[in-house]
């Protein structure tokens, strides 16, 4: 069982990201689950989304999770919410920030001694898509750190998931995914 927790603000696309990832993984024959806690459901409010991936049918519906990966797609959430909750030894963190990994850990000591990777999904999204929607670049960074799929397969799959969007937007998302894949450290 692979478990992922997303930290996001409502409107930044964590649910879409989690569902898109589940959709891609499902096509490879694995079983998936994607869900979210909406809280007060206001745009901009901190929220979390979740993925489970397994070789067998997923019957566990508990909300409690000790994640293998924590994906943080808003840079402020590292400071305003506890992204390390239910941490386990092997948990890896991929965090959106303009800082380097060392600078980030200095600014948020809770991350010290943990497996932390950083990437600036906000700048990447602004540069490529033209809007601060950091979910697809985060998936590119996740592919790099997890080694889950080859980039070609993943991008082809994401083109299908994004299928109904205008071609220009799909192309921009592909650029964003590739840039985050290349830039995550």
């Amino acid at each position: 069982m692979l478990e992922i927790r997303w930290h996001s603000r409502a409107g930044q696309g964590a649910v879409t990201g989690a569902k898109g990832l589940a959709d891609v993984i499902s096509t490879t024959g694995k079983h998936v689950q994607a869900f979210a806690f909406y809280g007060s459901a206001k745009r901009g409010a901190a929220m979390t989304a979740y993925n489970r991936v397994d070789d067998k049918v997923i019957m566990n519906h508990e909300k409690y999770m000790e994640p293998d990966y924590v994906l943080v797609i808003d840079p402020a959430l590292v400071f305003t919410s506890d992204v390390t909750i239910n941490h386990k030894e092997s948990t890896r963190y991929i965090i959106t920030t303009h800082m380097s990994t060392d600078e980030l850990i200095k600014a948020q000591p809770k991350l010290a001694g943990k497996k932390v990777y950083t990437v600036d999904c906000m700048t990447i999204a602004n540069d490529t898509i033209g809007r601060p929607i950091p979910n697809t670049p985060m998936l590119g960074a996740f592919m790099k750190i997890s080694g889950m799929y080859e980039m070609d397969f993943f991008k082809e799959s994401m083109k299908r998931v994004l299928g109904k969007l205008p071609q220009k937007i799909i192309d921009a998302n592909m650029l964003a995914i590739q840039r985050a894949y290349d830039e995550v450290k």
Partner: protein, 407 residues
């Protein structure tokens, strides 16, 4: 046909709401009248979008309240169409008067009820308070434990509800958020296979059949009211369960997916067992398997059909168990829980010596964790070992503050 078909993958990653909306599209529902409410909104939103995009030949009626939504559904069903809608919580509460009208008028309507807590305090998350509130309203009630089942049970509900021997409305329950907003793989039917299973709608005593005028929604006082209610109850007690069984069989033939009024898991030699509803059934199944590895013979019973209540089926399933926990996700507010009472009733005149205890859990979407269930199975084993219930008969799982226990 005057609508487009949709190509689906064999497995689509859908949440329970979208699965229900797709089933409504594939069943070609003629009329949906709805007043959307969280967390069921995407079901009727989905139907409306499919309609606008030309995938359905039907009518979406926007109304001013849930009371009006069900009233319009009743009108459309009496007129002679295939009718469905969706609601949750406060919406169902406002609908409750008309729910009794629909069942009393013997109108086949499918209601997707996305289970949510009832205010006050206001809460949009999943529990079974709404499901329990209308359990005596004369509707058939199915329960889905995941999005696949929310999809499948919609087809089954139409087929049972619309049968001319049944003609009773049916509710398909799914857990708010835990199913409705949780995307999982759903094995799909093609549009043709799905519609072929549900079949073309065959009206009966429809008001738009002007050759055969009929009256709907009449008044009967003490001269006839009791006979109408007794006949409705008779049909629920004698005709509905056999029909459900036969539709379950037909569905299994079509899809390979087998449904039962009482879903048993590891029950053949179980010493201890949990009886529950919704997503909790699946989580409990996973924990029951873990408990077996630790030497505790744990089983799980999930109710697929809540009304008519599978009285004899549940007594049969529980006859060799030593300790049973009835899990109710609704505050009984001054009584034992619904499942506790129903199970006690089903077992009372049997030879079983099973120990029965009740648990209230998960109100307002409070998480039921695997750790909770491990503790619960251990407690049941302690009861079985002691030969008596070692705790109070009613306890709370996962609530903060001093431990609450009653009875």
């Amino acid at each position: 046909m005057a609508f487009d078909k949709m190509e689906l993958k064999d497995i689509e990653v859908w949440d329970g709401n979208f699965a229900a909306a797709q089933a409504m599209r594939q069943s070609q529902v003629d009329v949906v009248a709805a007043y959307p409410i969280t967390p069921s909104t995407p079901i009727v939103e989905g139907y409306a979008k499919f309609l606008a995009d030309g995938y359905i030949e039907g009518e979406f009626v926007m109304v001013e309240s849930e009371h009006a939504a069900m009233s319009a559904c009743i009108g459309a069903a009496a007129a002679g169409g295939r009718v469905a809608t969706a609601t949750s919580s406060q919406g169902l509460a406002l609908m409750s008067e008309t729910l009794y009208q629909a069942s009393g008028m013997r109108l086949p309507i499918v209601l997707n009820l996305v289970n949510r807590a009832l205010a006050s305090p206001l809460n949009v998350n999943g529990d079974h308070s709404d499901m329990y509130m209308i359990r005596d309203s004369g509707w058939i009630q199915f329960d889905a434990f995941c999005s696949q089942e929310a999809y499948d049970l919609n087809f089954i509900a139409f087929k049972v509800s619309e049968d001319h021997d049944i003609r009773l409305p049916a509710i398909v329950n799914q857990d708010g958020f835990m199913t409705s907003h949780t995307a999982q793989g759903v094995k799909t039917l093609s549009d043709d296979a799905a519609y072929g299973f549900v079949g073309e709608y065959k009206p009966m005593n429809d008001m738009l059949d002007f050759e055969h005028p009929v009256t709907h929604g009449v008044q009967t006082e003490e001269d006839w009211h009791f006979e109408h209610k007794a006949r409705q109850h008779n049909d629920l007690m004698t005709k509905v369960m056999p029909k459900i069984q036969s539709v379950f069989k037909d569905f299994e033939k079509l899809t390979g997916r087998k449904y039962n009024p009482v879903e048993k898991y590891n029950m053949d030699d179980a010493d201890v067992c949990v009886v529950c509803l919704g997503t909790s059934v699946e989580t409990a199944r996973e924990v029951a398997s873990d408990m077996r590895a630790k030497g505790i013979k744990a089983g799980v019973i999930g109710l697929r059909v809540i009304r008519p209540f599978p009285f004899f089926e549940i007594a049969e399933a529980l006859k060799n168990v030593k300790a049973i926990a009835a899990l109710d996700r609704s505050s009984p507010n001054g009584a034992a829980g619904m499942l506790f009472n129903e199970i006690a009733g089903a077992l009372f005149n049997t030879d079983t010596k099973a120990l029965l205890s009740g648990y209230i859990y998960g109100l307002g979407g409070r998480d039921l964790t695997k750790a909770h269930l491990v503790a619960l199975f251990n407690e049941l084993q302690a009861n079985a070992d002691a030969g008596k219930v070692t705790t109070k008969l009613q306890q709370f799982i996962g609530v903060r503050g001093p431990k609450l226990a009653f009875l």
